[in-house]
């Protein structure tokens, strides 16, 4: 029960403060799961993201479900996911009627200008911090650059992930793993 409450608290908090999609969730997860609680190391966190990005659905939700399941089974998976979306759901539903007012409010616009700058810096810092656990040899650097280049030139995530999963599969076979 304590585990479930802990998961609920962590993911509720992340839901309140993640602005800008799956990538923006990474620094928050790193703080909560890797640094503070030491449930995961950076490598495992990257595995969760790899799986979250290559399976259907919203990346942040996939990562929450995966974390919850590994920590406390099915109930954990459901708790983490529901906790993640609780605050956003309430906020959107209560804003929905006054949306034009919210979007045109100059203070909201100003606050968001500030948030965006911080979020970009946080993501950049998280990428640097995760670099050593994901990029271990020259081929990894090539993969990183190729994938980034593909994303920038407009390839969809599905195509990028399919290509590199295929390459990984073939490489695995070559190394004699069956």
């Amino acid at each position: 029960m304590k585990k479930i409450c802990e998961l609920a608290a962590i993911f509720f908090r992340i839901g309140c403060f993640m602005f800008g999609g799956g990538a923006a969730m990474l620094p928050l997860l790193q703080e909560e799961l890797v640094h503070r609680r030491k449930w995961l190391d950076d490598g495992k966190l990257m595995d969760y993201y790899s799986i979250g990005q290559s399976t259907p659905g919203i990346i942040a939700v996939n990562v929450a479900t995966f974390t919850g399941y590994n920590y406390a089974g099915i109930l954990g998976a459901i708790t983490a996911t529901i906790a993640l979306i609780t605050a956003p759901l309430i906020i959107i539903l209560s804003l929905a009627n006054i949306l034009s007012l919210y979007m045109e409010n100059p203070y909201v616009a100003k606050a968001f200008a500030g948030i965006r700058i911080v979020v970009v810096a946080l993501i950049a810092e998280a990428v640097c911090r995760l670099w050593p656990s994901s990029i271990k040899n020259k081929m990894d650097i090539v993969f990183f650059i190729a994938a980034l280049g593909m994303a920038i030139s407009g390839f969809s995530v599905v195509v990028i992930m399919a290509v590199f999963c295929g390459i990984g599969f073939v490489l695995g076979k070559k190394r004699g793993w069956k």
């Binding site: 908090r13 403060f17 602005f19 800008g20 999609g21 990538a23 969730m25 928050l28 703080e31 990257m46 790899s50 990005q53 399976t55 259907p56 659905g57 919203i58 942040a60 939700v61 479900t65 399941y69 590994n70 979306i85 956003p88 759901l89 906020i91 959107i92 539903l93 804003l95 979007m103 100003k110 606050a111 968001f112 200008a113 500030g114 948030i115 965006r116 700058i117 911080v118 979020v119 970009v120 810096a121 993501i123 950049a124 810092e125 990428v127 995760l130 994901s134 990029i135 990894d140 993969f143 990183f144 994938a147 980034l148 995530v157 990028i160 992930m161 590199f164 999963c165 490489l171 695995g172």
Partner: protein, 171 residues
């Protein structure tokens, strides 16, 4: 009845949208032409709102679209529809991995896509930056913040609050 349709449509989106929130946009365009829930113009506003409220963008858009179609319950039903496929798939996958922890073929695939996953996260950051980084001043500010975060390891939530305060004062 409308709840059933909403749930079904968003279940489909949850199943087909691989790669995060913005991937759901084309599906929502289809919805706006097949049903009279919201117009394409409203969809553009929805994207802006979903990006400027906390939470996963895809979830926010589903909640808002569902609300437009059928009120508060519609918002909840659409969101649940969106979540359902990924939860089922992830739980099945996680369960399989727990039973077969040393699947080398899977390990190899995972090892190859780790750099790809990191690249996609970096791209996520670039995508957000593209919208507002127009000059050296902004880029410099991000660089300073980057160094601050790197050397003074505070909770990211504190930095986000700092961003809100800074934005309100200087924005």
């Amino acid at each position: 009845m409308i709840y059933l349709i909403l749930f079904g449509e968003f279940f489909k989106i949850g199943l087909l949208a691989i790669g995060g929130g913005l991937v759901t946009v084309p599906f929502l365009y289809d919805l706006s032409s097949s049903y009279d829930w919201f117009s394409p113009q409203e969809l553009t506003d929805m994207i802006a709102v979903s990006e400027s409220t906390p939470g996963p963008i895809g979830v926010n858009m589903a909640t808002y679209a569902g609300f437009k179609a059928a009120g508060i319950c519609g918002g909840i039903v659409a969101t649940m529809g969106l979540l359902m496929p990924s939860m089922i798939i992830i739980v099945l996958l996680a369960r399989y991995l727990k039973k077969h922890p040393n699947n080398l073929q899977f390990e190899s695939v995972l090892k190859s896509i780790r750099p790809v996953a990191l690249a996609l996260i970096a791209f996520g950051g670039l995508f957000i930056a593209k919208a507002f980084v127009t000059g050296w001043l902004m880029a410099g500010l991000i660089a300073v913040l980057f160094l601050m975060i790197h050397y003074v390891k505070l909770n990211p939530i504190l930095y986000i609050c700092l961003g809100i305060i800074g934005g309100l004062i200087w924005g």
